[in-house]
């Protein structure tokens, strides 16, 4: 039976080749879930905030850039209570 269009989670051959690091045996949903988990961890641990900072200031990651980022974060974080 022919399908008129691909299923939503179906990737083209080109996409599959470009994502060469993912072995074919690993289900797509699992890869997606892991990617999401990793994104959440990057947000919780401020890695995403650092990436956004670099993009905003058009800087490359280096010790000086990170020092500026830390100073910016210091003021934000110092006002953020930790929950009980």
């Amino acid at each position: 039976m022919k399908r008129s269009r691909p299923w939503p989670n179906e990737r083209s051959t080109a996409e599959s080749c470009s994502a060469g690091r993912t072995p074919a045996s690993i289900p797509t949903w699992f890869v997606g879930a892991m990617a999401l988990l990793f994104s959440a961890l990057r947000e919780i641990f401020d890695e995403s905030a650092y990436s956004r900072f670099l993009a905003r200031h058009e800087m490359r990651s280096c010790p000086d850039a990170y020092a500026v980022f830390l100073r910016e974060q210091e003021n934000l974080k110092a006002r953020r209570a930790k929950c009980c």
Binding site: S39, A40, D46, Y50, R52, Y66, L70, A78
Partner: protein, 682 residues
């Protein structure tokens, strides 16, 4: 999915939940498996999320998928960033998960596993999750405003002022109670003290790595830090067993309290981010990992609960804290069912990350369900212990007696057999000198967790490692809360003092920094010192006081929420927040009354002060204890009066709006259509 199949699925979930709850509630005289609690929790949360939160979002809040959130409208890549809902969920959960849902349920287990479990489930579904959800949504609709700003805008000046004072009070009392838990967990424990001391050089090393070797690679360095901490735990065993070194790390409660107070001052006043920021990351990493590990451990090992569903202490004669099941069980559990502190997080960072308005349901309601599940795990960790062991660890010497033999005899006479030899063997197994009188909840939780893990992972041989891992996790966690809380408190005081004299408000002016840091540290330090010197263990006074503060803050949050619902013209649905509000008012006001005026000296502050004054020869020590009791009574009374004020102000406002005497006008940001809806359709 077809409707009949859905009906079948949800009916099955409801029946399974009813079966699990029935098993928990009705089994008497025989032990049950912890999985019944897990199943009951999953079913209650699933039903609550699917039906109740959907009702709240559709009928009460009318979530609008077309409305742009502040993250979209004010996007700046720094504070306001539209973020994937699962990522915000993780971020929000990491922010709200604290020591409260671990400690409170462990302490409340003195009533048995049933009251705590039922309140955690019902409280979360109908109160805690609702509070977090509605406050998050209302903050999203007000450009991410804080709870105190919303209270001032929607209720009035009194509302704003009371919210501000409640926040400061809860921070101070939380820090005092938290520090006391750390002191009680680490006193006379060279292993624990060494492990926690080692987290400082490890954090500095992490800071150096982050700053100079791999800038920004926080996850990577957290894994490295975690491995080093595991080595520190292993090294702690050597320290505790080496007579030449062990005395350096064997500290009394008073010494530990002084060290923590000095630490709190420097952490607040000095720019020590090389230490604090990496340790914060390390603490979060360990916290998330441990919660995940405990969840897996409980599901895989399915331990049996040895605690009975109800104990004789529901009459108020409990050794851990005095007071009858109503209201004290509900004050003690606090964060696992409803936490006022969450309203600060829900109106802090999270609303600035929400991408679409309907996602507030999953983030606000859903994350609180996850927090509540952590509380259920804490109940399980406490109740897998033999009741005699649980009471031996958690009861203060002032109640059960100083010597192991006296304590064992007292606890056994309550019908919970325990022997001094058995407790000594357990203390040896976990690498401690003694486990008697280790009040505060943390050691009992650690023994429970070690008991669960050692059942499969490494057996009894590594029980000591698991115990000290749990102690390290809790102490690290609380110390992070302590330094962050002290700084937040300092900023709040500086903001307020800046209105009186501008230089005091400058956060870079050192005299102001030192003075306000000293003020905040002195405030929580005095509660800590009071707890350390309290013959009843301190937790008896401080934890209920903290619970009252926390629930009073939740009362303020629900007042704000109800006011906004009434102003939105949805008064017919106001029971959604009004019922939990009424419950909290009943609980907190009754508890406050008991804590101030109860004639039983173990419950009432004033009665305790009177009994001390009349029974002992006057001395400096007695005068101080009497003063502390009176101070606690005044603090409780002042908080209750202020919350009564905000309640009265809110009630008058609701009546004026409902009678047509006042035009209802909510202070929402104007409607702007979201571009995300069009993008998704396109």
């Amino acid at each position: 999915m077809k409707k009949p199949i859905l009906i079948l699925i949800w009916s099955s979930v409801a029946m399974l939940g009813a079966l699990a709850l029935g098993t928990i509630a009705l089994h008497r005289g025989e032990q049950i498996n912890a999985m019944w609690l897990v199943v009951a929790a999953f079913c209650a949360y699933a039903l609550g999320y699917r039906f109740y939160s959907k009702f709240v979002s559709a009928k009460v809040l009318a979530l609008d998928a077309r409305r742009a959130t502040p993250a979209e409208r004010l996007e700046d890549g720094r504070d306001f960033v539209p973020t994937n809902k699962w990522v915000v969920f993780g971020h929000h959960f990491a922010a709200i998960a604290g020591p409260g849902p671990l400690v409170g349920p462990v302490l409340a287990a003195q009533f048995g596993y049933l009251p705590g479990t039922l309140y955690i489930l019902a409280g979360a579904v109908f109160a805690g999750c609702v509070q977090d959800f509605v406050i998050l949504l209302f903050s999203v609709r007000r450009d991410g405003k804080s709870l105190t700003e919303m209270a001032r805008d929607e209720i009035g000046i009194v509302g704003g002022f009371v919210a501000y004072v409640a926040v400061i009070s809860i921070i101070v009392i939380l820090l005092g109670a938290g520090a006391l838990i750390v002191v009680n967990a680490l006193k006379s424990s060279p292993w624990g003290v060494f492990t926690i001391a080692m987290t400082m050089p490890i954090a500095v090393l992490m800071g150096f790595y982050l700053r100079h070797l791999r800038p920004g690679k926080v996850l990577e360095v957290s894994v490295l830090g975690f491995i080093l901490v595991m080595f520190a735990i292993w090294g702690g065993q050597w320290v505790s067993q080496t007579p030449a070194v062990a005395p350096w790390f064997t500290l009394t409660a008073s010494t530990l309290a002084i060290v923590i107070i000095i630490y709190g001052f420097f952490a607040s006043a000095l720019p020590v981010w090389l230490l604090l920021a990496p340790r914060d990351y390390l603490s979060t990493f360990v916290k998330l990992g441990t919660i995940g590990l405990l969840a897996v451990g409980i599901i895989v090992l399915r331990p049996t609960l040895h605690m009975p569903p109800l104990t004789r202490f529901i009459d108020g004669s409990g050794p851990i804290f005095a007071g009858s099941i109503f209201p004290f069980a509900f004050i003690t559990i606090a964060c696992g069912a409803i936490s006022g502190f969450h309203s600060l997080i829900s109106s802090g960072t999270t609303p600035k990350l929400i991408r679409r308005e309907p996602e507030t349901r999953m983030v606000g309601y859903g994350a609180m369900m996850a927090e509540s599940m952590v509380a259920i795990m804490a109940v399980i960790a406490a109740c897998v212990l033999q009741p005699g062991t649980y009471f031996a660890i958690n009861s203060p010497a002032g109640v059960v007696g100083l010597s192991p033999e006296a304590a064992s005899a007292t606890i056994s006479s309550w019908g919970f057999p325990v022997s001094a030899a058995g407790m000594h063997a357990l203390a040896q197994a976990v690498g401690e000198q003694t486990l008697f009188n280790r009040t505060g909840g943390a050691p009992a939780f650690a023994v429970g967790m070690a008991h669960i893990f050692s059942s499969s992972l490494g057996g009894q041989a590594v029980m000591a490692i698991w115990y000290h891992f749990a102690i390290m996790f809790e102490a690290l966690f609380i110390l992070t809360v302590l330094d962050a809380g002290t700084r937040v408190g300092r900023f709040m005081v500086q903001d307020a003092l800046g209105h009186i004299w501008k230089p005091l408000g400058r956060t870079s002016w050192y005299p102001s920094i030192l003075a306000t840091s000293a003020l905040i540290v002195a405030a929580w330090g005095s509660f800590l010192w009071q707890g350390v010197k309290d013959p009843l263990g301190g937790i008896n006074s401080l934890w209920p006081l903290f619970g009252i503060c926390n629930q009073l803050l939740a009362t303020v949050a629900l007042c704000v929420a109800t006011t906004i619902i009434v102003k939105m013209g949805k008064a017919r649905y106001s029971a959604v927040t009004l019922v939990p509000l009424s419950w909290l008012v009943a609980v907190t006001f009754t508890a406050s009354w008991h804590k101030m005026f109860d004639p039983n000296p173990r419950v009432g502050f004033l009665a305790h002060a009177r009994s001390l004054a009349s029974s002992a020869a006057p001395s400096h020590e007695i005068s101080r204890l009497v003063f502390n009791d009176r101070l606690d009574a005044v603090v409780t009374g002042a908080l209750v009066c202020m919350v009564a004020l905000i309640l009265l102000e809110s009630t008058f406002l609701w009546m004026r709006v409902l009678s047509g005497g006042m035009q209802a006008r909510v202070r929402e940001a104007p409607f702007v259509a979201t571009r995300f809806a069009a993008e998704e359709q396109g």
